[in-house]
Symmetry: C2
Subunit: 246 residues, 2 copies
């Protein structure tokens, strides 16, 4: 019994340490999203370059977290419930790393876009979309620490807004391209940025789904009303019903 | 000593079982790539629908493999070297799952593209690209089972060909769009398919990198000549040198 308590407390200390790293990683990713979208709107090449450099620290943190989680599993041989928590941390670290990559990609495209004629309004709309995703990420990490399934489900619901922002931008870019072929190259970049921001939202959603699963045991399929997010992308299936997606 | 041998052999049995699942998953993903590109070229909606359905089995296998790996780590408390192997399996399962998603996405876009005027030559070029990626995937999984770092490095090198195929298609689609705005929507879909196929190649490369790491201890940064693959994407940085990517 004493023994068990001892093991439990050691596991909890390990868990706190790695969860602190997840929070640090989350903070860096939030910063990357905001700075990347700010660099895009302000056509600020230096800030874009900084975002690209800073992504290395995010990648290093992910590798460190994966190693630590594996070490915890190996050393503590956690119970099923505790194992579920460690696995969720490994998944969340993976989601954060990918969101960071999308922010880096946005920064790369910015370095190219500054050489082109700006597309009026697009950068502001993209920044609004990025801000929404950053807010969802902050809430999903809070929900994780607080084990707050209600907040996590709220984040999952808000992803629909991001999908709608993307859909609106997609149609806007199509119009710009059809109006003037000289806009095509710039719009291709902006469309990729919009698409990648929408994907960031999908990864934030999967973090929130991890939280709901941890707290309630509900799996994503059970909690997700719609199917695969990509089916909400008009560039995939504007007229195909989501049900056709399962 | 006997004890150690016993534990080792139990670990090896577990490992063989989960590696068999990885091979099964790999086979399903190879099939998805080939069928998705065949459906695209033949404008075969039924085959595209089959690819979308079959992706569920791939997702289920991934979840199963992740659980089994966690169970192995928890029960066998493997040595550092064995732990590295189990972690590599978890990473490879994740890569395979994402490749399967891209194949599903290709199938979804096919269901939309069949309603549009075909873009001459594009589907054949895309299928060639998909075939190349499928071959790389097969070799990377063989390299994993054989612990063949040479074959794995060959796969990593071949990813440059896939990047070049993508770059060529990207410029082709731009031309089609500029020539006739009525091509824009179809070209946007085809461009996403090309981009996603190039991303499949990146995930195959990361599987091959896992193999090299397992066999030689070399990390991706050490073995990768170029930096982040996205920097080879002309839609990201046509004129930015790769060195500017680090």
């Amino acid at each position: 019994m004493m023994e068990e308590q001892h093991i439990a407390s050691v596991f909890d200390r390990d868990l706190e340490a790695v969860q602190a790293r997840i929070m640090k990683m989350g903070g860096l990713v939030e910063q990357a999203i905001l700075e990347a979208s700010e660099a895009l709107e302000a056509r600020d090449e230096e800030l874009a370059e900084k975002v690209r450099r800073d992504d290395l620290a995010i990648d290093d943190l992910e590798a460190l977290i994966q190693e630590e989680c594996a070490r915890i599993i190996a050393l503590r041989a956690p119970t099923a419930g505790d194992l579920r928590i460690v696995l969720s941390i490994m998944k969340i670290a993976g989601n954060l790393e990918r969101i960071g990559d999308y922010a880096k990609n946005m920064a790369k495209r910015t370095s190219v876009l500054v050489q082109m004629q700006p597309i009026s309004g697009a950068h502001t709309a993209l920044r609004r979309m990025a801000r929404e995703v950053e807010g969802m990420l902050r809430d999903s990490l809070d929900a994780y620490i607080q084990r707050d399934a209600t907040l996590a489900k709220d984040v999952i619901a808000r992803d629909r807004d991001v999908d709608q922002m993307y859909n609106a931008l997609f149609r806007e870019f199509l119009t710009f391209m059809m109006e003037d072929p000289r806009n095509i190259t710039a719009c291709m970049h902006l469309h990729f940025i919009a698409k990648n921001t929408e994907r960031m939202g999908d990864h934030v959603t999967s973090i929130a789904e991890q939280v709901v699963y941890l707290v309630t045991g509900e799996t994503p399929d059970e909690m997700r009303v719609k199917g695969d997010k990509t089916s909400t992308d008009p560039s995939v299936a504007p007229d195909v019903p989501r049900s056709g997606d399962a």
